[in-house]
Symmetry: C2
Subunit: 376 residues, 2 copies
Amino acid sequence: MPSAARKSQERDRASMEPPPADDYAKERYGVLPLIQSQEKSDRVLVRINDLTVEKTDEVVWVRGRIHTSRAKGKQCFLVLRQQQFNVQALVAVGDHASKQMVKFAANINKESIVDVEGVVRKVHQKIGGCTQQDVELHVQRIYVISLAEPRLPLQLDDAVRAEVEGEEEGRATVNQDTRLDNRVIDLRTCTSQAVFHLQSGICQLFRETLIHKGFVEIQTPKIISAPSEGGANVFTISYFKSSAYLAQSPQLYKQMCICADFEKVFCIGPVFRAEDSNTHRHLTEFVGLDIEMAFNYHYHEVVDEIADTLVQIFKGLQERFQTEILTVNKQFPCEPFKFLEPTLRLEYREALAMLREAGVEMGDEDDLRYIHIVGM
Amino acid sequence: MPSAARKSQERDRASMEPPPADDYAKERYGVLPLIQSQEKSDRVLVRINDLTVEKTDEVVWVRGRIHTSRAKGKQCFLVLRQQQFNVQALVAVGDHASKQMVKFAANINKESIVDVEGVVRKVHQKIGGCTQQDVELHVQRIYVISLAEPRLPLQLDDAVRAEVEGEEEGRATVNQDTRLDNRVIDLRTCTSQAVFHLQSGICQLFRETLIHKGFVEIQTPKIISAPSEGGANVFTISYFKSSAYLAQSPQLYKQMCICADFEKVFCIGPVFRAEDSNTHRHLTEFVGLDIEMAFNYHYHEVVDEIADTLVQIFKGLQERFQTEILTVNKQFPCEPFKFLEPTLRLEYREALAMLREAGVEMGDEDDLRYIHIVGM
């Protein structure tokens, strides 16, 4: 840790007053020193996602971030968050907590990481704002593990607000620049967590499906000695006393594998395009999901495999990533995605006829990719 | 296909004489025109690996390469190859094959792709040179799909010969330059096929194990705006009117994910090092298998996960890739690899003591990585 950051954190830790000596709960809360692998603990931390009614009346330890905090008389309601999941925790004056302890809990900055010991209690009314709706934690101990800055550049609740809602009600949203300048905080939102899980899931479904079909995954070179596809749109690297180029696609290497009898290969990896265009179809770097296969008699054998692979990905997303899809939908509302199994297959002439029937004027050999611009 | 290559192939096709009109088997062999997705075939091609005694007396179609060919009187023995697998095929003068047909089969250049129709016959003596040792194919039809050049820059059998054996018996091996200059042919050897399957397998085992442990796979940027680790050994890219750099590791992005509560992430992808050193420890580009995780109390939690991940990879290789390991071992003989479960864990001081006991002289803080040079 750079010393400036360390000093800042030490100052923050010091800013939280230590428990007064006459507090009967003084051992039950406080700011712990920085964890430095000094000792091995056999404490079992329970995942927030696992806090369900089956655990009612159990005493558990949980590590999470303070998502929200609301003090109310002799009580403080915290929401503890762990990735996409959160649970309500109650610190209330009583045998385990003193007035000072409730005040301490209420003063912990949002986004701080805390260790909490608490009893799992079933609630009579579902807790709407949390993913763990049927239980809450009655806190017996609370320790700050890592204290967040008191003022954050963005609020997580603002960052997940659906834009329509924000505009309608005049509530705060977070603009793109603020998000990108504070990417680490923006990535903590349930939406970002879900997006990354979906991205990982899509690659995994692509990979599982293809390996099951007998494909071999390959890794192809990115630094190449000559532009591989014409020469336009290629990035030049200074390569010692010479020049080299960034691969615009794994095409050549995939085809070499086919000539080398691999029969079916795929790769997932970065490709590079030196296209100085700012459209949603141009990126200088993106992750390509690439297939190459030999066919025996007709290229439709390849079309069949690609179509089925897409169906398997869609099905896998529906079956295994419903939680993530719903999370993203909250911020970005949309209709559930639909697909056909097997995939719809149109002859080129059929597609042209349908487009013309829909009022699109186009020549027999125009590029179909641009059709969506006119509303298809 | 470039026109020179096309002409060369047309010339090759023409060089094989068409069946004479008075040949009773004339419909049963020949050179087929280039497949151009003209028609869809409902012919089922059987995989060579599936040619087992269960298929005895069945008539099957197989597409494979001519691996070797040996004419002997009225018979021609072919070995047909598909990736790591091969089977013996017999063309013998009789009801299905004429003298001309046997001659035609004997004259097909090695590495040509053929479609063969044949009856699966159980053999009385195991066929030592083939992976399919219990059956052979009695050929009823044989057609050339793609004709190879008559003289190849390297022979596959030479390329898989164990070097020791070659030296001892004075038999041909293939040097590195010839292999790299003809990579597509070298990749067809059973050893290369096995190496690529193992490589794909290692990545898949790494990934499966980590996903099972709750890790999320991420893709990190390769083009970055500033050197990420000091600045030495970084490749500079000309990025439109400015400069950019190739990422030396996914480190920064993995750590961002940890700060963003991902808890456990991994990535598999290329990293770039501008190191102008020709040693087996320096490569300008390699595929990194990277892990990053948060720990709760002690860094040994991370050490445990890494150790177990390695064990799972070793076990997976032993259980699922035995064929590939044996194939590689034929060319590169070595003892079976060993590992402990759980992995051996040494304290640094214990390791130093063991080294000194073994006669290695080193200071308390010397770099352990160089120890293998002195024979450990």
